[in-house]
Assembly symmetry: C2
Homo-oligomer: 373 residues x 2
């Protein structure tokens, strides 16, 4: 994997990732294909919306259909018919949200799948082995992800484990003979000094890029922004930075302003299925009666299929009737919005006009503007 | 509306309907867009599968979103963004399946919607008025549809009502100033002489085409085939014949062999959502464990998106995981199969080779071959 930093504007960065499956312009948003499919969308839909890379979840693929089946069928790219880059997480985030269904030791974690009760095992070595079997382009080490709040003592213990697992993951990755890029995951909870220690010790191990983990787990937004700035500011300038599981459109703008290059989030597709639509004026809810007879498109200047062809009234009708077509149409629109926002940010950074872009975004987008970094 | 009979082969007919929204090659299959959407599919998907006309249900549109809203938004074509021909039924079939939720009189029928309990009224005049408001190209009179079995006495009473309603519908249609084509519906239950009387009296009223109603309501397949032959044989040769709500692939082949020109059925899309896939070797069920590791497409020679891009193993994974994408992919495939079957029949009829086509179809398709007509 290569990473070229093409331009900077303040802390914001315009770059390009090179992978075996093509290039990714950064800042980049990655649609989430949890179980080897982005919910309701085909690979052509993703391309059409402007996606260059997708994320898939190791945890979910481990449970169903299993990495051996995916490998037997030619790997994840062929399995899901997506020929662009694929990033996988390690399963850490999902496994630690299982609470009572898991037992963790220094060695790894045993868990039962909530879907079918089947028993599974994840360790740093196994997580790497699974991701090698899937054939993803960017992979991650198993880590422990704490919720908010977490005590200093718990955070120190957890960070120690994550760092020891990071070392084991690196060794397993090198032994595995894969060409995938391995990103380190920076944990460290909600204490600035522990985050700083996490960056230093993770970077010292030498990864191909760095993920900022343990964010968007219930902490206040200002704290997330501050910690993101601390971590991003301490990461190597010549390597990509990925803020895991973030976020809302305003979170993406604020994290780009703090030097983050990559994002993933289920919001554009999950909220589509709940009838929430992202627009430059903020999110709107199709359920509201005021759209019932509205002949206008969701967003007049949007090039997506939903906006080109259908009225708010029709889309609301489909949503109220739970017609399957609406989930695809709203997901397409929301991904167009997210990916278009990233493209606008890339243009603004390259032009040295990110600050006015950011101001204009918040002037129009109907959420409270956050504090300056 | 125009109808050109281009070729015949035995009783089978190759024709072409001309409507304000384009031509329809017959024998034709109409995908069902119950509530102004074919479940999980976009208008582009329908075109790509080869659809030239879609059906929508007056009953469902009356309940939600209502014909006034559809008219206000430019009519059904614009509302659902389908610029080809649209056929609507009268609501009769659905309203008579409501049983305890309706009260019928000579004037019409009062009913409560099963979805939200809202009260509605349908009469011959109201059904025509609604279909005019929707702007469909081919419309139908309100009729009474009997289930199987029905006594002779009930059938005679019901047929009388349907014929009186047919007269009122014609008058309402002429007064409405619409350019839509109005098809008559031939009822008459399961008695050959009542069916013959129904044809004669319906044709005497003078419609633009004729639907064969009251079939596929629980009667044995041989009886459906015999009655279809009786009715189709007595209908005018120079007008289109539409067998309502039919059917399975083998039913389509057998009805074309008996002179039917048009069909609609929810099976290709409904069965897709249940994981059933139609192939030239008969239907298959994706749930079966034998597809778990199968790298082949559903049907190797099929040009649909599902078959071009994905393996049976992947589609089965999506189906077992209830991933929304699979409903679209399987619906696309099943419609490709249905519409491809119609295209093959049209080619065979034009070439004078329908009999060997039909024999080959049943030789391969895994259902018992029916008796000769």
């Amino acid at each position: 994997m290569t990473f070229d930093l093409l331009a900077t504007d303040g802390l914001a960065r315009r770059g390009r990732l090179g992978t075996r499956h093509g290039a990714v312009d950064t800042p980049a948003f990655m649609p989430v294909g949890t179980r080897a499919a982005v919910k309701s969308l085909s690979p052509d839909d993703l391309r059409e919306a402007g996606a260059q890379i997708v994320l898939s979840n190791t945890f979910h693929l481990l449970v169903r259909p299993g990495p051996d089946l995916v490998r037997e069928l030619g790997g994840l790219h062929r399995f899901m018919s997506w020929d662009g880059p694929i990033l996988t997480d390690s399963g850490g985030f999902q496994v630690f949200s299982l609470a009572r269904l898991r037992t963790m030791t220094e060695e790894g974690v045993e868990f039962r799948a909530p879907t079918d009760g089947s028993a599974h095992h994840l360790s740093p070595e196994r997580a790497i082995e699974i991701q090698h079997a899937l054939g993803s382009d960017i992979i991650h080490p198993l880590d422990e992800c704490l919720g908010y709040p977490a005590t200093r003592e718990d955070t120190e213990r957890s960070l120690g484990l994550t760092l020891r697992w990071a070392r084991r993951s690196l060794a397993a990755h090198r032994a595995g003979g894969s060409e995938a890029a391995l990103f380190g995951i920076v944990q460290g909870g909600f204490h600035q000094d522990l985050r700083a220690r996490a960056v230093a010790e993770t970077v010292a191990l030498g990864f191909d890029g760095y993920a900022i983990g343990g964010m968007a787990v219930g902490e206040p937004k200002p704290l997330m922004r501050d910690l993101t700035e601390v971590v991003a500011g301490a990461l190597p300038a010549d390597q990509p930075r990925y803020l895991m599981g973030v976020g809302k459109p305003e979170d993406l703008v604020e994290a780009v302003a703090r030097g983050v290059d990559m994002f993933d989030c289920v919001l554009p597709t999950r909220n589509a299925r709940n009838g929430q639509v992202f627009t430059p004026d903020g999110p709107v809810t199709l359920k509201q009666a005021r759209w019932t007879r509205d002949p206008a498109p969701l967003q007049p200047d949007c090039p997506c299929l939903a906006c080109r062809r259908f009225s708010r009234a029709y889309l609301r009708h489909l949503f109220m009737a739970a017609e399957l077509l609406v989930y695809r149409l709203l997901s397409l629109h929301n991904l167009h919005f997210y990916l278009g926002l990233m493209a606008s940010m890339r243009t603004a950074i390259a032009a040295g006009s990110f600050a006015p872009f950011r101001a204009r975004f918040f002037e129009r987008y109907a959420v409270a503007a956050p504090a300056e970094p």
